[in-house]
């Protein structure tokens, strides 16, 4: 079977697809790519179904060789990719010859880069998905981040090469943002107007403690009506929960399925991919919008992702 060989794993490289739905009743959250937009586009560029499994690299990329010729695409953050020492363009389909080394360095912008290979990464699915859930050691490649020497098998490829790339306009409109749009959370009225002003009127710094489970933020404390008692309830992807110390945490792709902290707001679906590109120490701001606007923004984004104009020869 064709394979990708890990010469250097990078800081934290895992196998991810679009996650597993439907296992919330077992306490298993969806997981999946932190920047699903980049993963989907990468897969389109190599001729895969958009949910095929790929490698997600974090902050510092690795080095990989292939034992057969392959068709690949690199999307997401710019980790300075090179092929046998020559700079490699991103967001485009590339032919790789047997034995060539694809190498990544530290991130120049953003937090996560995706390496998509035609045929996808072939790992045994766990609950219907190839996504790695690192905390529980489930899914992906042996339930863990890749290590030097791992041989990661690839799925069947059609070996048809089309030189295609993302259109510059589409790339521009899908740029990750540092202003994150939010809608009201289920405990919105536990927070006084002044708390909302704190949340939407200040910059918050992404803590070093952030990971795929949650993005911890540092900023002015958000006060809440502490007299109310919260009963643990289901929590959604992108929920902004406020801890007793007033620091917000955004629940991310490897989130817990339920939680006991009140949620002031929730990141809109169309901005979730932006969260995947946040680096520790980045500063973000929040903008409060209506549910109806959140929906139209998602519809626009999906229309662009489905359009012919996304990809050009």
């Amino acid at each position: 079977m064709r394979a990708l060989i890990v010469e250097a794993p990078g800081l934290f490289t895992t196998v991810q697809d679009l996650g597993r739905d439907g296992f919330g009743p077992m306490g298993v959250s969806a997981s999946g790519a932190a920047d699903a937009v980049s993963l989907r586009i990468g897969n389109r560029l190599v001729g895969n179904p958009e949910g095929a499994a790929a490698l997600e690299m974090t902050l510092v990329g690795g080095a990989f060789t292939f034992d057969r010729p392959e068709i690949v695409a690199v999307t997401g953050a710019d980790f300075g990719p090179s092929l046998d020492g020559m700079a490699l363009p991103m967001w485009t389909s590339i032919e790789i010859r047997q034995g060539q080394t694809l190498k990544f360095g530290p991130s120049r912008s953003g937090a996560r880069a995706y390496l998509c290979v035609q045929g996808g990464i072939a790992v045994e699915p766990f609950l219907g998905s190839a996504s790695t859930h690192v905390l529980s050691g489930l899914g992906g490649f042996e339930g863990r981040a890749l290590r030097k020497g791992d041989r990661v098998e690839l799925g069947a490829a059609n070996s048809l090469f089309r030189k295609i790339a993302i259109s510059p306009n589409a790339l521009e409109s899908l740029q990750p943002c540092k202003t994150i749009r939010i809608t009201d959370g289920p405990q919105r009225d536990w927070f006084a107007e002044s708390s909302w002003k704190t949340l939407c009127g200040n910059a918050f710094r992404v803590s070093e403690q952030s990971n795929r489970m949650g993005i911890r933020l540092e900023g002015p404390p958000i006060s809440l009506d502490a007299s109310r008692e919260m009963i643990t309830e289901g929590v959604s992807l992108g929920a902004i929960q406020v801890t007793p110390s007033g620091q917000p945490i955004i629940l991310f792709v490897e989130q817990q399925t339920t939680g006991g902290y009140p949620k002031i707001a929730n990141v809109i679906s169309a901005d979730l991919h932006s969260l995947g590109q946040l680096r520790p120490r980045d500063e973000i701001r929040f903008e409060r919008i209506e549910l109806s606007e959140a929906r139209s923004l998602l519809i626009q984004q999906e229309a662009l992702l489905a359009s012919k104009e996304l990809i050009q020869e």
Binding site: P25, M26, G27, T232, E233, G234, V267, R295, L298, I299
Partner: protein, 232 residues
């Protein structure tokens, strides 16, 4: 029309792709049973566009594809399901016994919990291992069962600073809740013991030892028995 004997379900948008359905306002067996029945109904007669269900004590978070459903449409589709809850039978319950080695290195907070309540450690163990608990739901992490039925006298506040790593199998108390950590995770509950049983195994069917609705009893075992069970 017949007046429902429980409060009317409440709906609340949690995000642009999820809706919270509240089936009660407190942790109570009756509310749990309504959550359980609603999950069963939604699993046997799925609603088009619903992607995931996150049950909890008295509520259910329904995650949906926002391109195919919206909050209003989902809410109106749910009404007939909710109207059937009172008539729906409960599934048969399973009883599960969980051996626990209390105290020592397995339960570093046992003596603290005892002191907090003016009891001896032995009294805490006796009290914790007496009731039959009900698995209200699995949540937080894979296979993590939230159990109802902790004696009020054992309710203990969460740790000020959660542990970065709680060992697999740890049995803890957080507020008026108790449960077993199926995998090693960060956690803020006070740890009183550890079970040698594997609570979540990917090769098992079902993967989680405990399922929503199960009846659970803890049995105190010695360190020797713990090792004999293959505990770590």
């Amino acid at each position: 029309m017949r007046k429902s004997r429980t409060s009317e379900p409440q709906f609340r948008a949690a995000s642009d792709q999820s809706l919270l359905v509240y089936l009660g306002e407190e942790i109570a067996l009756e509310n749990h049973q309504r959550v359980l029945k609603l999950i069963r109904l939604l699993q046997s007669e799925p609603i088009d566009g619903v992607r995931n269900l996150h049950p909890a004590y008295s509520s259910l978070l329904i995650n949906f594809d926002p391109l195919r459903l919206d909050h209003d449409k989902l809410q109106s589709t749910l009404i007939p399901y909710l109207e059937r809850l009172d008539r729906e039978p409960l599934p048969a319950t399973r009883g599960i016994e969980i051996p626990v080695c209390y105290g020592g290195e397995f339960g570093p907070d046992l003596s603290g919990v005892a002191e907090m309540h003016g009891m001896t450690s032995a009294q805490v163990i006796e009290l914790h291992s007496s009731p039959i608990y009900v698995v209200y739901f699995l949540g937080f992490a894979p296979g993590f069962a939230y159990l109802g039925g902790l004696p009020e006298a054992l309710a203990s506040p969460r740790l000020e600073t959660p542990r970065a790593k709680v060992p697999q199998g740890s049995v803890g108390i957080g507020g008026n809740q108790t449960g077993v950590y199926p995998i090693s995770t960060p956690g803020g509950w006070r740890l009183i013991g550890r079970t040698p049983l594997a609570m979540f195994r990917r090769t098992a069917n079902p993967m989680s030892l405990l399922q929503i609705g199960d009846h659970v009893r803890f049995r105190a075992i010695s360190e020797k028995e713990f090792m004999e069970f293959g505990g770590r």
